[in-house]
């Protein structure tokens, strides 16, 4: 705890890999499954580091797979390539079981959904939470507050429900709990929770051009954001992050509207 506290003060994060931990004969409490976006996408990398900061701040012993991690196979499965999905899944399960992993936190609702729901049928059984659920738990236990950092008091914040967190897995309250501690002005968009509108990236749309139509889905979602008159759009998915950020850019509202992950907001509010 004291070690990690001083690291936090130096604003430095120490992220052990499972390989390192195993070499030292240690087992972390939780594995942080970073995901492809969290590993490679510049914006999402920032969120990845913020999730590590939170874990370090509260003193949870964690590790990542590093270069041993591979795509969960979600976009392959949603695109109809079940072979590739199952190849990915089996390989990942071998790695996870090799390290005797029991508990996983993911930084992405797609990884969360796939590992939690689709891996058990292929022999991979883990307790999986999305990072917003972990943050909610830490707040409930009193281990995480919103003090010592940027104040969100009175700012208009809205939450965009990622499909695979909300409708896909009925997680609506956890991300909102992380926002409620901010003493901010929480507003809901016209389409929210189980009626939330997709950002347009799911089902492997992220990796292809959209079909011909009147407009792009993220621009349709931007209407809801503008209507809610929000200053901050919070989300919990790296793909939603890309789509919403693009939407803000296209509407030239970068000065007025910030798109932030739940983890980023938590880190800012706590000055981590």
């Amino acid at each position: 705890m004291t070690d990690s506290m001083s690291d936090t003060l130096n604003n430095e994060i120490i992220v052990p890999t499972m390989a390192q931990m195993a070499a030292e004969g240690k087992q972390p409490d939780i594995l942080f499954w970073v995901g492809c976006a969290g590993s490679f996408d510049e914006r999402a990398q920032k969120i990845t580091r913020d999730i590590c900061k939170i874990l370090q701040h509260v003193g949870i012993s964690f590790a990542v797979l590093g270069t041993e991690e591979s795509c969960t196979g979600d976009p392959a499965k949603r695109a109809g390539n079940e072979f590739l999905f199952q190849m990915q899944a089996m390989a990942n399960i071998q790695v996870l079981d090799g390290y005797n992993i029991k508990k996983i936190v993911t930084g992405c609702p797609h990884c969360f959904n796939t590992i939690a729901n689709e891996y058990p049928g292929l022999g991979g059984n883990y307790e999986v939470v999305h990072h917003s659920q972990l943050i909610q738990q830490l707040i409930n236990e009193g281990n995480l507050k919103a003090e010592g950092g940027e104040s969100f008091k009175g700012r208009r914040i809205t939450f965009h429900d990622p499909c695979y967190l909300g409708r896909g897995n009925n997680v609506y309250e956890a991300p909102r709990a992380a926002l409620e501690v901010l003493d901010a002005d929480l507003v809901e968009m016209k389409r929210c929770k189980s009626n939330g509108l997709c950002c347009g990236a799911g089902g492997a749309q992220m990796f292809k051009e959209p079909e011909p139509g009147k407009k792009d889905i993220n621009m349709e979602r931007m209407n809801d954001v503008l209507e809610a008159n929000a200053q901050v759009v919070a989300s919990g998915c790296p793909f939603c992050m890309t789509m919403l950020s693009d939407g803000v850019k296209h509407t030239e509202k970068e000065q007025e509207i910030q798109v932030l992950d739940i983890a980023e907001i938590t880190v800012r509010a706590n000055g981590l």
Partner: protein
């Protein structure tokens, strides 16, 4: 006596015809692949009670929801009256429940009348919503002439049936006041009382009105019953089994294909001997590749369009409409069934659900967001059909859009959907 004979003949004929058509739909549904939906009966009964019986998802749209509950409650409860009509028709009695039920009978008939009026008014509002206000949800590419007429026919038939029921009661009530023949004092008529002044004062005319309405009402109901198998209105029956057999897993969870699991296991472990599989194709090209639950979904769909109205692809002008996926599946299945009846089991017509009904452009527009599944008041899952058809296009035909093929290649080679090296995966920590 002759009336009883005619009644029984009509009743038996209607029952036979209906049974025959239902058996055909059942046969068609069972053309689908097997899928196990018999686990966890407790949860299944609860889902059916909540969603079908309790209409829990209907009220997500309050106006349509409340009006629908009125029609639904009216329809179910007024059927107690139909039971009396059936018994009277067979035995030549008149209001046979009046004597044994006593004052309760009056209360029941009074209640039916109020419900009948509410059903009638709701149907009028529904007609206005469809034909005058022209709500966007009721139009769309798939809403061609027949689906639109089908909806109007259903509403008009219900209005006529309710009108006949109330007119019959009004005439009966007047005859009761006149102490005419066998028209004993029975029932309360809170609504038809107001219709009574419009009718003739002559007993003979009143008897003719009462009898014609009685016959119209019951023949109308039997005809309507036989209209159901040809209509979207079949949902009033299938809503119950369809919600019972709902997917109980989280919506985000897509089932893993066991045939693929066996092949993958055999690839990873040469010692693994896969169990002898039936040589079916991967994914779905035609309706017979889908599961029986997909096919039951198709017959259950009442084309309300709640799915399409929340579909992000459809909202933004793409070709995809989840309602069309369901209607196409049903129409193709009906076609396959008819072919089967006409030409026998081994007949093929060189057509398929893919391409002849559903285009690839529609399939690839889906974001798998589950909004359509969430919106459906009877737990239909259009997404599951889209996914199986994508699987066919990708795994059997290798016809994925080229950008997706690139994504597959990246994932195979680098373990990520983008062209980054696996060795760089931990660079975010630098």
């Amino acid at each position: 006596m002759i009336g009883q004979v005619i009644f029984i003949i009509i009743l038996l004929g209607a029952a036979y015809l209906f049974g025959k058509n239902v058996a055909k739909i059942r046969r068609n549904i069972l053309l689908g692949r097997p899928v196990n939906r018999s686990d966890n009966p407790g949860e299944r009964w609860r889902t059916m009670a909540r969603v079908a019986l309790g209409q829990s998802k209907m009220v997500r749209r309050p106006i349509a929801g409340v009006l629908h509950i009125l029609v639904y409650a009216g329809f179910v409860i007024i059927n107690i009256e139909v039971l009396e009509i059936l018994i009277d028709g067979i035995f030549g009695s008149h209001r046979i429940f009046a004597a044994p039920l006593g004052s309760l009978y009056g209360l029941l008939i009074g209640g039916f009348e109020v419900l009948a009026l509410l059903v009638l008014l709701s149907c009028v509002v529904f007609l206005i919503r469809r034909n005058i206000i022209r709500l966007k949800r009721f139009s769309g590419r798939e809403m061609t002439a027949w689906p639109k007429s089908d909806a109007n026919y259903i509403l008009i038939i219900e209005i006529l049936l309710m009108t006949a029921f109330l007119t019959m009661n009004a005439a009966d009530y007047k005859l009761q006041v006149l102490h005419f023949g066998h028209y004993i004092k029975a029932g309360n008529f809170p609504v038809s009382t107001f219709l009574a002044p419009l009718l003739s004062a002559k007993a003979g005319t009143l008897v003719i009105i009462e009898r014609s309405c009685w016959w119209f009402h019951i023949i109308g109901i039997l005809a309507f019953l036989n209209y159901l198998p040809y209509s979207k209105h079949f949902h009033i029956l299938l809503a119950f089994p369809n919600t019972y057999y709902s997917k109980l897993e989280p919506k985000g969870q897509f089932s893993n294909m066991s045939s693929v699991t066996n092949e993958v296991k055999a690839m990873l472990d040469p010692a693994f001997v896969p169990p002898a599989a039936d040589i079916s194709r991967f994914g779905a090209k035609d309706v017979t590749d889908l599961t029986w639950k997909n096919l039951m979904d198709a017959y259950t769909c009442t084309e309300c369009g709640r799915c399409t109205s929340v579909c992000p692809a459809n909202i933004t002008g793409k070709l995809l409409s989840p309602r069309k996926i369901m209607m196409d599946t049903r129409d193709r299945l009906t076609e396959v069934g008819n072919n089967l009846d006409k030409n026998g089991k081994d007949h093929t017509d060189d057509k398929s659900l893919l391409d002849n009904y559903i285009t690839r452009e529609e399939l690839w527009a889906c974001t798998t967001c589950n909004a359509c599944v969430q919106a459906c008041p009877v737990n239909i899952d259009p997404l599951n059909i889209i996914m199986q058809m994508r699987q066919y296009v990708v795994m059997e035909e290798s016809q994925a859009p080229s950008s997706l093929n690139n994504m597959f290649g990246n994932m195979e080679n680098n373990g990520a959907p983008w062209k980054y090296s696996q060795a760089d995966r931990f660079n975010w920590n630098k």
